[in-house]
């Protein structure tokens, strides 16, 4: 006991490593419960670089990190860090509340079901829908598959036509391709130079046998926001045509209302709104009812549309993330817009021949810039301490440059030079300033290395070069 008290007094002045070694000297101890836990009792972080071996019995067995300093994360469109408040909401379901939410007969099931119902309410509130319209899935990809293939196959007797855009996410395009193999007719609409859909072209493309129009709300590569209300109005004029939007990047970032925008179906992703990975949702309108053929057969959970035990832990995380997103939407949007402007102005004021891909009035957290005369992958490799993404061919497994940028009309060299900066809720001003400095340095360095830049400086027109093909 004396050793314990000495440790408690000394702890305020000593660092945690010494506490760990003291703890290892204790011979008769009880692990402290959560109610008694104070900050100073916590074991060392499993991620911290230590040269001393960890003596604490609580320390996780984790290899020491390779580098001492880690990169800044600016790839918010790929995924987002989980908000600590979301993790806190999930943890009870990862420890004691482990019941199956579909178990009707005991309290374990009831309390899990309660968590799931609350999440359903939060997600519904975020998009202005009714609770019963929400179906939980494993992510936006599953939602997209379920909706597109489900609606198409249910109505395949009379309706064989589907309309979508060339800039949609791969899972939407691939689902449509699979359907075209089954005999459906798919129209891939082109987009305008700024990435927006041509509304007249859309209206002209709707045929009597169209069953579904699928247009994503916010594009994941360029941040372009499609005019959902207008599209909804156009689709509503034609009976029997459903409007689906892939809102994975839009949820919690721009205001969405399924009734005001006449949206019948929507795909939602958890890990893009600071929630856990592996969960998402689909909004399937009930009034008027949208019918679709489910992909998963089983016990008939989720209105029969998505059988399978709900991952209550992940679902609760998604619900909490949705609740926070609704609460913080305005604050986040203001912060992210300011950071985005800072980033763009900071870069373009020092470097020229920079093009913004996509509508400048798109979502501010997604900034897609092309730096002419340098290549995307070399830029990413040269930016040592930043995590970014590029639309260049060299970064994709297929050696094809981004099809989204190609659909926007970008020439190949612009597509090869594109870099996507993703700003999120947790991005700070210092990180943006660091990225601006590094970007300017890197762009100048790579342009010094670039023969195209040299030619431009000398006044040679690049279009006139006779390239030898390989």
């Amino acid at each position: 006991m004396l050793v314990l008290r000495a440790a408690a007094r000394a702890q305020k002045h000593k660092n945690l490593t010494q506490i760990a070694s003291l703890a290892s000297k204790r011979t008769f101890t009880q692990p402290s419960t959560a109610t008694k836990a104070s900050i100073v009792d916590t074991p060392k972080s499993s991620l911290q670089d230590t040269s001393e071996p960890s003596g604490s019995i609580y320390a996780k067995q984790h290899p020491a990190p390779v580098s001492a300093l880690n990169p800044i994360y600016l790839d918010a469109q790929a995924t987002t860090p989980m908000d600590p408040r979301v993790l806190d909401a999930m943890l009870p379901f990862l420890t004691d509340l482990y019941g199956n939410p579909h178990s009707r007969t005991h309290a374990y099931g009831w309390e899990a079901e309660k968590g799931v119902d609350e999440s359903r309410r939060h997600v519904a509130e975020l998009i202005g829908a009714d609770e019963k319209d929400i179906v939980f899935t494993s992510g936006a990809t599953e939602s997209n598959n379920m909706i597109i293939k489900g609606v198409a196959r249910f109505h395949k007797e009379k309706k064989k036509h589907i309309i979508t855009l060339q800039t949609e996410h791969k899972c939407v395009l691939d689902s449509c391709r699979k359907l075209s193999e089954e005999g459906f007719d798919i129209t891939y609409l082109p987009v305008k130079r700024d990435g927006l859909v041509d509304l007249e072209l859309l209206e002209a493309s709707i045929r009597p046998d169209t069953s579904l129009v699928s247009i994503m709300a916010v594009n994941n590569e360029t941040g372009v926001i499609q005019p959902l209300a207008e599209i909804g109005r156009i689709v509503r004029k034609h009976r029997g045509v459903y409007f689906h939007t892939d809102a994975a990047q839009a949820i919690g970032k721009i205001p969405l209302d399924v009734n005001a925008m006449n949206i019948d179906l929507m795909s939602i992703s958890g890990h893009k709104i600071y929630g856990p990975k592996g969960v998402g949702a689909a909004y399937v309108r009930r009034r008027p009812r949208v019918r679709l053929e489910p992909i998963l057969s089983g016990g008939g959970q989720e209105r029969g549309l998505r059988s399978g035990t709900l991952p209550s832990t992940l679902v609760v995380g998604l619900g909490e993330a949705a609740r926070l997103a609704a609460k913080e939407m305005d604050y986040d949007h203001a912060r992210i817009s300011a950071l985005s402007e800072r980033l763009i102005n900071g870069i373009t004021s020092q470097v020229d021949h920079v093009f913004r891909n996509g509508d400048p009035n798109g979502y501010p957290g997604c900034v897609n810039l092309s730096f002419a005369y340098i290549e995307g992958e070399s830029f990413l490799m040269a930016m040592k301490n930043t995590a970014l993404s590029s639309g260049s061919a060299c970064t994709s497994a297929s050696l094809e440059p981004s099809y989204v940028l190609r659909a926007l009309g970008a020439t190949d060299d612009i597509a090869h030079s594109s870099i996507r900066f993703g700003i999120g809720r947790f991005t700070t001003e210092e990180e943006v300033d660091y990225v601006i400095r590094e970007t300017i340095k890197t762009v100048n360095r790579l342009r010094d290395l670039s023969p195209l830049w040299e030619m431009v400086q000398e006044g040679i027109d690049i279009q006139t070069i006779n390239w030898s093909q390989h």
Partner: protein, 105 residues
């Protein structure tokens, strides 16, 4: 890729410089190429295979074409040098430099 070589009267490459628009592997391949050929004779430089570069840099299969580009660049540079030399009809004591640009779509 832009490759410049400076050749002395004995046909030895004294200096090589590069500029590249391309991914990290392309830049590395051309950079390594310039280091390889410095001090080599023109004949030896012409015999360098892209597999040598790929092996030294441990290029993954998807990046092999970058080393191909470097091989083509040095061959074009040598060809360009020889063409210029014969056209100028120079005396053996002076130096000729040449450059070549190669690109892939």
């Amino acid at each position: 890729m832009k490759l410049q070589i400076r050749v002395d009267e004995n046909g030895i490459i004294k200096e090589a410089k590069f500029k590249t628009f391309g991914c990290g592997s392309a830049i590395a391949s051309s950079s390594y190429m310039t280091e390889l050929v410095t001090g080599m004779s023109l004949e030896d430089a012409g015999k360098i295979k892209n597999t040598e570069i790929a092996k030294e840099l441990c290029l993954p299969p998807v990046k092999l074409h970058c080393s191909m580009l470097a091989e083509d660049a040095i061959r074009s540079a040598i060809k360009d040098y020889r063409t210029k030399k014969s056209r100028l009809n120079v005396s053996p004591t002076s130096e000729v430099s040449s450059n070549a640009a190669a690109a892939t779509m």
